[in-house]
């Protein structure tokens, strides 16, 4: 089993499974509304021209998060392209 890393460190093209989410309050609620939960699979599909925010692919849709928000989420990388 691979080590969990911060979502920020996930490279573009890499897929991973969400391990923990530390965000609470408004950010936590927003993240859950969008279906980001432990156990959910995601792929980093891109970064904005200034390397922040990051674009993530979930099942059927794409969403964006700022790097400092991605810091609150740890993931376990599952594959490398």
């Amino acid at each position: 089993m691979a080590e969990s890393i911060s979502l920020r460190q996930l490279q573009v093209g890499q897929t991973a499974v969400i391990h923990t989410i530390k965000a609470d309050g408004e950010l936590g609620r927003r993240i859950r509304d969008m279906g980001l939960l432990p156990g959910v699979e995601l792929e980093a599909v891109g970064k904005a021209p200034l390397k922040d925010p990051v674009a993530l692919r979930l099942k059927g849709f794409t969403l964006t998060l700022r790097n400092n928000e991605a810091d609150l989420i740890t993931v376990i990388p599952s594959s490398q392209k």
Binding site: D24, E26, L27, G28, R29, R30, I31, R32, D33, M34, G35, L37, V45, G46, A48, P49, L50, K51, D52, P53, A55, L58, K59, G60, F61, T62, L63, T64, L65, R66, E69
Partner: protein, 759 residues
Amino acid sequence: MDSQITVALAGNPNCGKTTIFNYLTGARQHVGNYPGITVEKKDGMARCDGQDVRVIDLPGTYSLTAYSQEEVVARRTLAEERPDVVIQVADAGALERNLYLTVQLMELGIPVVLALNMMDEVHRRGDSIDSARLAATMGIPVVECTGRSGLGLDTLLRTAVALAAEVRGKEWNPLKISYGTDIDPVVDEMTALIVQEFAETSSGASASSYPPRWLALKFLEGDGDVREASFISEDLRNALDALLDKTAKHLDLTLQTYPEAVIADFRYGYITSVLRGDIVTRHKESAGRRSFSDKLDQVLTHTLLGPLIMLGIFYLVYKVAFEFGAYPMDVVDAFFGWLGDMVDANMSDGLLKSMVVSGVIAGVGGVMVFVPLILVMFLLIAFLEDSGYMARAAYMLDRVFRVFGLHGSSVMPYVISGGIAGGCAVPGVMATRTLRSPKEKLATMLTLPFMTCGAKIPVFILFVGVFFAAEHQPTVMLCLTLTGWALALLSAWVLRHTVIKGDPTPFVMELPPYRLPTLRGLLLHTWERGWQYIKKAGTIILAISILIWALMTFPTLPADVAERHDVVIAQLEEKVGAAEESVLAAGGSIEAPEEDEDAEKLPEELLLAEARDALAEAENIKSAETLRNSIAGRIGTALEPVSRYAGFEWRTNIALLGGFAAKEVLVSSLGTAYSLGEVDPEEAESLAEKIKADTGTWSMANALSLMIFVLVYAPCVVTIAAIRREANSWGWALFSLVFSTALAYVLAVGVYQIGKAVL
């Protein structure tokens, strides 16, 4: 009303809800605002088997928490207006996330019909959804449809109407799911407390349209709107708080989590169990649209290409708008010119004629001329919005916006306000409601009026047209827009570090797949916004045009002064008459000579021309004195000692004063100022030519200074009113007024003084 069926449309943003709403209601829709707040309220009538069905389009939301104003509005509408049925439009491609809202609707208890939208995309990918099984598992009707083509929408409406007939008069039946052993007992306990309270106070039950269990759940979720609700008494709130506290402490201790997160997890758990088995069958390689969208993103959000393409797209919007907007503009312009001439020829001289020609026709005509341009602009903006490109712009620009203490979503209000020229600050201010942080929202709201809104464009087009060669005009216009951006961002930074300090808010945003917008949607959207503009022209601007005409006409010159002028003019008229006679006697023509210097002229003709010039000058002097004597002239003149440093003379001051009421009035009141001073109303000399000829007053430095001033100075009255409403404070509205005008003056003085020295 009682027999009429009401259906509400709910759904995530970007799920195609608006397309379905447009299809169902066609042109029979009404756009308004929810009372007290500025979330748009759309309402329309659909027809189903000869029956009228009222359709409410709820704002797009991801859930039913109190996270944003849209969510609060959506659930209040559901609870208070009690539509018979809610149709939840779901993007079938992202079913799991969309079902999160479905579950919450079912928890509320309102009868739900689930519309699996965008099935064409699902099929194209080779995926399939077993909607019959989904319906059976969830216990609600499920209809597959494709909003773009209209496929399945008739069935959808019929299903909703059938369900409405079935549940009519029955109590709501909230869905009860388990939230685990830690939460379930607390929900029950809380529900019991609420039920007991409502039973004791008869007012409670009637005041609250929400099911008690749902209220308990929301209380556990820490929902502020429910917690502060008036129908929850002080005692009840304390009792519920105590339960919430105990549960929260327990969860924190045992699982390092909190009630809200646990409840959400169990909702998703429920969704997972619903979708277990193979309700959704995904093709091995989910290729097709999605990957096409990804490929596009690789280029359109590319590190280097992305920003360049974005600039290019913004530039292209100008190019297209100007090239295509120009032709119909000429037609409208010609029409109002003709109308002015017609009225002028058929009405007797006097104040009424002056008001109709100089006030009404010139004022409204000056605004209507820009309708074609604005329609083209709106069409292009709607295309960018509906295609999904706007979200990419927010994504690419967020890092930049954050530097200035703003949010990537600030891009939308900015763009709507005129970030792509041709917007309007009023809907821009309204669009700031999607910004959750009051601070970022306020900073956006106070600086977005610096954008090149549609009403400023006429001013820019006028002066850019006069002072720049045709091939440079789009570039200059782009520079003006960029200046607006720079000023807005810099002032936002200043505001966020002085009067409105504070931490940034979350940026979690969906990037919808690129879609080709439907023509119908684009046209409806364009028409809605264009119509708002036209209505503004017909009401506020008409009134202001007349007011400004009155300000420029009254008080009239004192009788003795007027008489002195009239005597001079009468004498000169006699001279002209005499000269005409002598020209005729000499066999010449009394027609005003063409601009043909070489043509041989009789000496009598030269004398006539001289006499005419003298008459014109005398009339000009009288008009100028009349205007200067009027209220507007007095205010404008009084301001001259201050405005002089920015290069504005009193006539410009008059126009700028009028522009505070509505920027559209700027050009028309400048026009009125000039046309009132004009000798011959028959001579349809356009304002641009007038300014070009008036080199004494108008140099490049004056023009640049005025354009900067117009870009930045006080937002129009309507915008101020919108700011007051959105910020819920007269203080901020007033601040906006003073702040903008002070900044504009400083900039204009700078530009004029430097311009004068350099150019």
